[in-house]
Amino acid sequence: MTLQHYLVISAILFTLGIFAVLTRRNAISILMGIELILNSCNLNFAAFSRFMTPSEDISGQIIAIFGIVLAAAEAAVFLAIILAIYREFGSIRPDEVDTLKG
């Protein structure tokens, strides 16, 4: 197993996440895409920590843990916002929520 294995997996996850965010017309699906992206990042942290630093240094893992915590916070807020939007607009399709349209 080389570092590049992990990086490739992570890159695929990232791309899929981006793809989901770009194409899915459902806010919850977008959230899932974002989770994929965050996971790919965390995976990178762990991988770099393993391969690029001395083995007893596990700072990368801690950053990954922070990342997970952030993901949790983000998910909570995201869902709250989705709920609020749903109440307001009766829909969670992002293309229907365009108050900011110029």
């Binding site: 197993m1 791309t15 996440g17 459902n26 919850i28 994929l36 995976l43 596990i58 916002i81 709920l83």
Partner: protein, 172 residues
């Protein structure tokens, strides 16, 4: 490259992760997508194990699978009411998104392949003692104390904020 058991399991996890992620972004049924995501998260947790990150793997399972995924399902149920909600996708957007995503992937892969510092770094296979204790030391008694506290406050704020936003009656 030799197909040892370890290697075999690794590729298994890798395939599981990537495949289920593909499902997440392609299936039309949102509930199915959510379950595929669960598989992906498990797969990543497995990969963490390969990276000697046992605590991280456990956290991944507990927080993601136990927390976030459940949250997502709740969200699905509260906003659609029906379990079989189909995800709307447009052709044009699919195409454009696909192009951008592919371009991005190509880019990333090129970078990965061409960065000299990352080449030929193989896993030396050293076994680490369980990392839990060390992580505890680092977080509660080491350089990560302040970030840890900040992140705790952030989490608190996010939860209170989420509760406030999703309340039925928002003042004004």
């Amino acid at each position: 490259m030799d197909f040892t058991l370890t290697n075999f399991i690794f590729y298994g996890f890798a395939l599981m992760t990537v495949g289920s992620a593909l499902l997440v972004v392609t299936v039309r049924n949102i509930v199915h997508a959510a379950f595929s995501l669960m598989v992906t998260l498990f797969g990543v947790a497995g990969l963490y194990v390969f990276l000697q990150a046992d605590f991280l793997a456990a956290t991944q399972v507990i927080v993601y699978v136990g927390g976030i995924l459940v949250l997502i399902l709740f969200g699905v149920m509260m906003t659609s009411g029906r379990l079989e909600m189909r995800i709307h996708i447009e052709r044009g957007q699919l195409l454009l998104g696909g192009v951008v995503a592919l371009a991005l992937l190509t880019l990333l892969l090129t970078v990965i392949a061409n960065t000299p510092a990352w080449k030929n770094l193989t896993d030396d296979g050293t076994e680490l003692p369980p990392t839990t204790e060390k992580i505890g030391e680092l977080i509660l008694n080491g350089p990560f104390l302040l970030p840890f506290e900040v992140v705790s406050v952030l989490l608190l704020v996010a939860l209170i904020g989420a509760a406030l936003i999703s309340r039925k009656e928002v003042r004004d």
